[in-house]
Symmetry: C2
Subunit: 141 residues, 2 copies
Amino acid sequence: MNSDFVIAVHSLVLLAHLPEGMATSDEIAENVCTNPVRVRKVMSCLRKNGFLDTREGSGGGYKLCRAPEEITLADVYRSLAAGSLAPNWCSGDPKKDCVVSSNMAEVMAGVFCEADRQLEAYFERITIGSMLSGIKAKQQA
Amino acid sequence: MNSDFVIAVHSLVLLAHLPEGMATSDEIAENVCTNPVRVRKVMSCLRKNGFLDTREGSGGGYKLCRAPEEITLADVYRSLAAGSLAPNWCSGDPKKDCVVSSNMAEVMAGVFCEADRQLEAYFERITIGSMLSGIKAKQQA
DNA sequence: TCAACTGTAACTGATAATATTACAGTACCG
DNA sequence: CGGTACTGTAATATTATCAGTTACAGTTGA
């Protein structure tokens, strides 16, 4: 899977952590260790899915618009990485005579589709808020 | 994830399906739709993990050495794709002052590690035998 | 001793992931 | 107004990863 998901989660946790709940793409990029353009692309997607507001122009940036405890990793996963489990390579060939070769792609797709659901269910149990707590706990130790 | 896992599963199902339980890398590659070298690489790994025997030389090939119902997808996953869930890109920087940036990589790794376990648990419930049955059922429909 | 196999390494080409550059659009602030 | 500080997005370059190909040594059976 590409790391847009990681960038999104990191950014949301960061916003949740900041006193104002707000930051620019430059600040986020610096914190995440990537470039601002990429951050803006990911943020743009998060905005479309209603996790944050953006303000253009001077003094603008990104601001969380939901409680960190209400945003699950599953929400984020669905927004920008759903279905990323299955390799984009397909084995077998529907036109072949062999039962195995001709049906493998479909059966395998089913396996990965359900795996994706399992993964999503796991992510459902983790929130931006809980990740932030986890990080803060780590600091004290 | 790369598709070695898919090739391995397909190959094992194919072997389980063939009357003799045996095939050469050329035959498997043809069925899977890839090249023999790649098949041999994957098979070599499956042999090392005890799922099949190989016979070199004329008349050789690969042969299942365990019952299809006993080989789970988790076994295969562990053999050649474990840990493939996490993107190989890491966000944040341990050297930074910010709590979030400096701890994100570790916390994220934990999330993906557990996700990997979840995925493995799901794969534990699927066997080469059950996949073959699923394919045969599909044919009759 | 030949033909049919596996086991690997080295190389090539294709595709996907990431970073960079560039610029239009928007909002605040003097 | 006009300048500055932002976002949004397209186009391009760069790098990494994946897959296919070629080549050849080692093994086995006929």
